[in-house]
Symmetry: D3
Subunit: 70 residues, 6 copies
């Protein structure tokens, strides 16, 4: 999909929990290799973030947009 987002990850829906207004969708990830993050350059320098560092990528579920594949 030609979307202006750096992270596009394929998976299979594992569960859907429907609430009154919001729903929680869980997805088993089939394959992901590289992900991208944009942060301030000040943060990069504060963390002294560089190639080879081990990181944990934290992403709130509200920021994850599922697109149903044909």
């Amino acid at each position: 999909m030609k979307a202006g987002a750096r992270n596009q990850i394929i998976g299979t829906v594992k569960s859907v929990k429907k609430g009154d207004v919001m729903s929680l969708v869980k997805v088993d990830i089939t394959q992901v290799s590289t992900m991208a993050s944009v942060i301030t350059t000040e943060s990069v320098e504060d963390l002294d973030l560089k190639e080879g560092d081990q990181v944990e990528l934290v992403i709130k579920a509200v920021h994850v947009l599922p697109v149903k594949l044909p």
Copy 2:
């Protein structure tokens, strides 16, 4: 890390591109199994999203928060 986010993914920094105010960080994902998305129940019903469906999870890089591991 005890953070209130459903998605916490481990990886290794692959590259850091520093800009004047923002930077782009690429991360090779070591291991991820399940991811979570929160969308409106209306969207779930419109898409008729259910277990077994193939989806693409789209996540803008600005929504990805890297935490440096010791």
Copy 3:
């Protein structure tokens, strides 16, 4: 309103669906001309995005902030 956001769109509330913690508000748009998106330059180049291209702007409802007008 002097807010640091590029998109400020006037409309009339059409419906409010109240949930236990979150609510879904629908708004009929009276008038909008131009909208703005910020993405990585890498995405612009990957998509070869340029003047005249047809696009669909996708915006999750959690990212839309309503301000009540007097």
Copy 4:
């Protein structure tokens, strides 16, 4: 596009300003009728938000995802 987002708005790219890491894309909106916002029910009650109210929808450009149409 079968995306889990309530707002999908068609338009034509008007301008692209490329920066070192981020770019600003302006889009002329061809047609939009209804938009959706998700806020806390507490906010709805604080604002006494109801059908017929005039609102301004404020959306930061980083939250707007452009998808290039064929």
Copy 5:
């Protein structure tokens, strides 16, 4: 301001660093008492989050919208 956001914090601009497309604005906070976060109920239960717990609220700068006061 009658905005549908739970967090509205008053402060004084301390510095503005202008980049080619994005800018970083620092603000000295004059007064803030209570802040609000919305997370999944699953996260609340995983973290066993309850009254009296010490927390750190992490907020990316791209999610902070400044509104200039008269």
Copy 6:
């Protein structure tokens, strides 16, 4: 915490309202001095935002990530 976010604010959980899928957490802020916002340079110039200006920082609760401290 070595996170790539400019805003990290310490506080004490005041209340937790659990919903079917989402929960609202209120936090009494113990101490915050400076906060940061990233907006487009165009917005800075439109607002003529500069040192000494009084601003209100508006942050939706979904963008606030709580991390439980030991």
